[in-house]
Symmetry: C2
Subunit: 388 residues, 2 copies
């Protein structure tokens, strides 16, 4: 068991009547606020008007950057940083899902850098400072509202890179489950696939486990499995939306890590898929994860799958471990592809093997992906082929 | 489901090689450090020397207050506040278990008050400020290292009062499981009874539950049940000590509350027992909790006991709910009194019914204790009688 530091100083206002605290929180950081958001769905649901009203009520000055893309692009980050420098912005307010929040983190960091924000992602430049960030979340998925990382795409180079820095951690996040009532059935499913994957990336580890945190991870997975179909059928079910929203934050805010120092597997592999094909991240993860599990299951890893099967899916503990392991992968596939109704193969979403080799090479960056099981370029290509 | 604010800005250094960060953390708050501790067990285990070495290495000035009692007394708090005022202390360093840390919190607050610290406990005076507090924990039990509250006794008035204030939250806590290797079998058992009780006080709630957080609470309880007997038999088992230590913090740091606004039951009742008889808090809780459960179990509460029995003790879900409920109470009693070997009745620890009436009156302060089930003075007396 490794030593670790717990330090999660994000203040979270959770619930349906918390937005009245927004102005007061923003004011702590200054007067000039840059509001960032995506394609305008926050206007449709009336959230934009509520947020603007709070900003005005607090006597703050409002600037705006809209149009942040799903799979947000470095061009948006550069545009935002430009505004911050020009308008001397004091605090960033990201209203949206993970894409908007991710982009906003790099806007905050790039404001203190005189070149292309892409240099930060490629680690050519260091993060030296970051504008304070406040978020209002509208999608339970990435957990960006409570973690210090983000993923940015570069369409020119067809790269999609994840990066994190403690300075980019949001100061305050507003999590109101009612802001996710209008999330479509499909996006709810993809969001939950993303949450499940975050937990799985940490949970599947052979030698650095803390039993207590494994119990917590299992509880989070059971929560996603229980409430996603409810939220899909009854989009305004507060209990379901609330459980998914808080689980999405816990999945990746560092609570369940407890000193595990293991590289993730499915996320870096999926990033190469959505970098080229611009598919929803959660869908890519849903297709990849069960195949990655099949590929990594063997005598050395079976005990973790056995634990997963018994404690998350309630499979009979008396069954033979390898049988439990295989059944657990079937049950996860059933959850993704039947319960959530997600497409189950690359073929169904028009991805063929054309780019498998180049995507695999990029995923492991010419070396080996040092996750749960070490995967080289050929392994990753094999996993891609299993997804066809 | 109620709204809530998550805000736990305590930095925790967890693990066996973290004390090298102590000097740097203390320095952030000033030069003059008051080290507080109890009866000297930290000298026996060599921790005192290590802590003092770190303080000297950092070039800080050291002051000391030793002799803080188990069930810490307001006289110690006043003594500490006196030193802080006289010596212009910048930062408090509590090295010990919950008693030392609790007392230190009130020393920090009383430094900014010109009267008797008891006035803060009795809410005659308000907390206006508090010296920054750093802790080095030596006992997995109260969770004081990560929460803003504490309990102080007044032997003159035979009162024992709990109080919390956000300003009293520790800034930094060092949790090294090896510092609990010398905790006796008995104190390990009492500590775990305290942790279990903290979780039970939050978990047993009929209408404000968040499924996800109930899963987390169940995971914490399973952790305590799994590892306490191991730690008792193998006191230097790092895995067991680490799981108990981190579970003790999570039990009461606010993670599992999620908007529950329910008064606790067994804690205020037990405080009246240990205020008079000076018994170990965890022992009192172990004796009281199963009786409180028997007393509150009925048709309106059975579903929560059913959930507890199935998910924590693995009782067959197909059994009749009331049978599961009763069996869950038996299994908890078995854990406390057989596995942990704690005394199971007041009679065995020389407590008779002499003070039941006055203790019951004090516990509900002449009104009704508004917990899981509302309990009036007579109810509490009845529960005391069940403990004989």
């Amino acid at each position: 068991m490794n030593d670790f530091i717990y330090d999660v100083p994000v203040k979270v206002y959770f619930g349906k009547d918390q937005l009245g605290n927004l102005g007061e929180e923003l004011k702590k950081y200054g007067k000039r606020v840059l509001l960032t958001y995506g394609g305008g769905s926050i206007k449709k649901i009336g959230l934009y008007d509520k947020v603007v009203a709070e900003i005005k009520k607090a006597g703050l000055e409002l600037f705006e950057l809209s149009g942040i893309e799903p799979n947000p692009r470095v061009t948006s980050v550069n545009k935002g940083a430009e505004i911050c420098k020009k308008e001397k912005i004091d605090v960033l307010l990201a209203v949206g899902g993970g894409s908007t929040i991710d982009a906003t983190k790099f806007i905050g960091a790039a404001t203190f850098y005189e070149g292309d924000a892409w240099d930060i992602l490629t680690e050519k430049a260091q993060v030296t400072n970051c504008l304070p960030i406040v978020t209002v979340l509208t999608l339970a998925a990435t957990g960006s509202e409570m973690d210090p990382g983000g993923v940015i795409s570069n369409l020119e180079t067809k790269d999609k890179i994840g990066y994190m820095h403690p300075l980019m951690l949001p100061k305050v996040s507003f999590l109101d489950p009612t802001n996710t009532f209008t999330v479509s059935e499909y996006q709810t499913a993809c969001g939950s696939a993303d949450i499940m994957s975050h937990i799985i990336e940490v949970y599947f580890n052979m030698n650095q486990d803390m039993y207590m945190l494994d119990c917590v991870a299992e509880g989070l997975m059971k929560t996603v499995i229980k409430y996603t179909p409810i939220a899909m059928k009854e989009p305004e079910n507060y209990e379901a939306r609330a459980n998914l929203m808080w689980a999405s934050s816990w999945a990746i805010n560092g609570f369940i890590d407890g000193g595990k120092r293991q590289a993730w597997s499915c996320h870096p592999i999926e990033h190469e898929v959505s970098a080229i094909y611009d598919i929803t991240h959660g869908l890519g993860l849903a297709i990849l994860t069960p195949r990655w599990m099949q590929y990594t299951l063997d005598e050395t890893t079976v005990s973790k799958f056995y634990q997963f099967g018994c404690n998350v899916f309630g499979i009979d503990k008396d069954m033979e471990p390898m049988a439990v392991a295989k059944k657990s992968i079937e049950m996860l596939s059933d959850f993704f592809f039947n319960t959530l109704g997600l497409k189950s193969t690359f073929t169904e979403i028009d991805i063929d093997d054309t780019n498998f080799s180049i995507m695999a090479e990029k995923a492991c960056r010419g070396r080996v992906l040092p996750g749960f099981k070490r995967l080289n370029q050929q392994d990753i290509e094999n996993i891609f082929k299993m997804c066809l």
